[in-house]
């Protein structure tokens, strides 16, 4: 791609500054985005157009099998202490170093697993335009329902949180690990280590975490990069913060004076294949 990083950067700024409400909503970046009410209403017209197709797909014949009868299950066994592990079965064979090296592609936040290599924002830009932009958009804004990769800062408390590397993800290693194992979509594990560093650097640039297009990311400086939202995660605390859900005596009679309907799914009418007027005899 011949366009300079500088000119792209100014266009990107325009896109990111525009009112998020005007932007087409995208799926969550795993491809299965859970739509909001507002999204759903906005998408209604398009839905109608594709409903015919959806109906055809829904009624397509699938090969089904009946479930077998089941026997009563024994109670679960208690966790066995490690020391009391059962006698060895002597099954399996030693994994060879070459085999472990071939499969051990994961990367942790502390840098464990990072391969030697390096790549710049500029190099990442070129790769991104060639291999990623068709889905994610030239500036990571996402095409159609494909994941948005940039922007979203300050949106997490709002009506439409946009979760990107810049706005949400706590660890840079997550991006490297994911690109390395799963991207480009449909051609996984085809990128070199240098290319993966370059793409990760470009994502940092798209998210204004690095500002210099000459910035080079490598296994040497990788763990020094911190993401803005890293401090906003905490471990599951439901058993304390939601303690009120335990030990409650369920009310059985006259539990509330009146009940009124406050919302209806039919108003949105976004359910595939949902129309069937029943007959009562």
């Amino acid at each position: 791609m011949s366009r300079s990083v500088e000119s792209m950067r100014s266009t990107k700024a325009l896109i990111l500054r525009s009112d998020p409400k005007d932007r087409v909503s995208k799926g969550a970046s795993d491809g299965a985005g859970w739509i909001t009410l507002r999204d759903a209403a906005a998408r209604l017209l398009r839905m109608r157009a594709v409903r015919g197709l959806a109906l055809a797909a829904a009624s397509a014949f699938l090969v089904l099998s009946a479930a077998p009868l089941i026997a009563q299950q024994k109670p679960q066994s208690k966790p066995a202490p490690q020391a009391a592990a059962p006698a060895k079965l002597n099954l399996g064979r030693p994994a060879l170093p070459e085999e472990i090296k071939a499969w051990d592609i994961d990367v942790r936040p502390d840098g464990l697993g990072l391969p030697p290599g390096k790549g710049t924002v500029k190099q990442g830009d070129e790769l991104f335009q060639a291999q990623c932009a068709s889905c994610h958009g030239e500036f990571g804004q996402g095409n159609g329902r494909w994941p948005v990769l940039a922007g979203g800062r300050g949106s997490l408390k709002g009506d439409r949180p946009e979760k990107t590397l810049g706005s949400f993800w706590p660890d840079l290693s997550t991006a490297f690990d994911y690109i390395r194992r799963a991207m480009p979509y449909g051609n996984a594990q085809s990128l070199s280590a240098d290319e993966t560093y370059a793409l990760t650097a470009y994502l940092l640039y798209l998210n204004d975490i690095v500002k210099d297009e000459e910035f080079e990311l490598s296994d040497r400086n990788f763990t020094s990069v911190k993401l803005p939202n890293a401090g906003n995660f905490y471990d599951d605390d439901r058993e304390t913060t939601e303690k009120a859900f335990w030990g409650k005596e369920p009310c059985m009679k006259n539990c509330k004076p009146e009940v009124r309907i406050t919302g209806r799914a039919a108003v949105l009418d976004v359910t595939p294949d949902s129309k069937s007027a029943p007959k009562v005899d």
Binding site: D30, S65, L89, P109, N232, F233, W246, R264, S274
Partner: protein, 424 residues
């Protein structure tokens, strides 16, 4: 084998005759409703299936449901995702009974499509903080002591579209990212013992062999408790879409952890913070902060019949049916209301009540044609009482996507039509 059932012209005649008889039957039923009772020709006339030979044992080497059941299928919501290879479809809960989900109706969730793997070419590697890194073939795994357990698998995003209000009109769509099957597999602790887990190993990374290389971190404590590495479901090999030939079974914990096409387990001293456990499957709360490692699926229930796709059709006797489950243990009680939560009755639980499994409940009731607001409310063996959606929103806000186990409301109208609603 007689020649009669292989004569093509005869088959055609039988087919046409059958269609005519069925049409006449419908007309007769309609007439019977309007006038004095007439004998039912389905009883007074000899039917084709009653006279002619049916298909022989050589026709269905792998049996499938009746042709009259073709509408009972998994369905997807095409506008949810960009690509069907990284998407989800939904179990038709309203068409099922008992507690076991037929293998072909278990909802699917893939991140890079269904991997097509010959079991002879599949390998499972265990390495990292172990004494001896090992590679297992499927043959090795099938030589290990195995166990059978029935467990539900629920996607953490099940009901995730309903956080901001009633949206999808059918329990298939609101609650259909759950299924319940019997797994056969090897306890993970046996596999880990073969490799010799080091004492500083606190987390495992499970990785799939699919084109997304799906990876999640699992606490060693859970792995040594009740995790199975399964090769069979409902008595036969895993279905391809459920991870054939090998998947993880993490009882009571969110479905995303149950890595399919499992090829690698690495032991480490810290979690990996993979994409599926940081950018996804963390719960964004109202204050803008996010809760992570929310593995356990809280107690939940849903009335599957009546529901929007399964309206009431008859006044008088009816069967209300539903499912309840908890990732913390067994279901001890389910209450049902027909009047929007003013008054409740305890439902009748029927069939096996198993640990971390779907549990079936019923209320047999008379319907006089009045409007109903139906809800169910589960209690589990830890004393957790399923909250209302508003109670959940109060503590979590509406941006969490995951872990919506709030009480579902169905509005049954006078004509039996049933709708997903919210009540206040």
């Amino acid at each position: 084998m007689t020649s009669q059932n292989t004569d093509p012209s005869l088959s055609r005649r039988r087919f046409l005759g059958g269609a005519t008889a069925a049409g006449a039957g419908l007309a007769a039923v309609g007439a019977a409703r309007a006038q004095a009772p007439a004998p039912d020709p389905l009883i007074t006339d000899v039917q084709d299936w009653n006279r002619y030979l049916g298909e022989g044992v050589d026709k269905r080497p792998y049996g499938t449901p009746s042709r009259f059941e073709k509408h009972i299928v998994r369905r997807d919501v095409s506008w949810l995702t960009a690509s069907p290879e990284s998407s989800v479809n939904f179990t038709p809960l309203h068409e099922l009974d008992g507690i076991i989900t037929p293998s072909g109706l278990c909802f699917e969730r893939h991140h890079g499509g269904i991997a097509d793997i010959d079991p002879a070419n599949h390998r499972l590697m265990i390495h990292g903080l172990v004494d001896k890194p090992l590679v297992f073939t499927m043959e090795d795994i099938r030589r290990m002591p195995r166990q059978n357990h029935v467990h539900f698998l629920e996607c953490a995003a099940n009901s995730g579209m309903e956080w901001r209000g009633a949206q999808l009109n059918g329990c298939q769509f609101t609650h259909g990212m759950v299924h319940n099957v019997m797994y056969t597999g090897v306890p993970l602790k046996l596999l880990l013992a073969e490799a010799g887990l080091k004492s500083n190993a606190k987390w495992l990374m499970l990785e799939g062999a699919d084109s997304s290389g799906m990876n999640r971190s699992l606490p060693v404590m859970k792995a040594l408790d009740d995790v199975l590495i399964a090769f069979a479901m409902n008595g036969e090999a895993l279905r391809p879409e459920q991870g054939y030939p090998l998947r993880a079974v993490i009882p009571g914990w969110e479905g995303n952890l149950w890595v399919k096409w499992l090829r690698r387990i690495e032991a480490g001293d810290k979690p990996w913070q993979a994409r599926e456990e940081t950018s996804k499957y963390t719960d964004l709360l109202a204050d803008g902060r996010s809760r992570r490692y929310t593995f356990i699926m809280d107690a939940k229930s849903v009335v599957t019949n009546p529901s929007p796709q399964a309206p009431l059709k008859h006044k008088g006797r009816n069967v209300l049916s539903g499912l309840a489950w908890s990732g913390r243990g067994t279901i001890t009680r389910v209450d049902v209301t027909l009047d929007g939560g003013r008054n409740w009755q305890e439902a009748r639980i029927d069939g096996p009540v198993l640990d971390k499994s779907l549990t079936r409940f019923y209320v047999d009731f008379d319907w006089g044609g009045q409007e109903l607001l139906i809800q169910s409310r589960a209690t589990d063996s830890t004393g957790y009482l399923q909250p209302t959606k508003d109670e959940l929103r109060k503590v979590r806000g509406v941006n969490s996507i995951y872990h919506n186990n709030g009480i579902q409301t169905w509005h049954v109208k006078g004509n039996g039509e049933t709708e997903n609603v919210e009540i206040g």
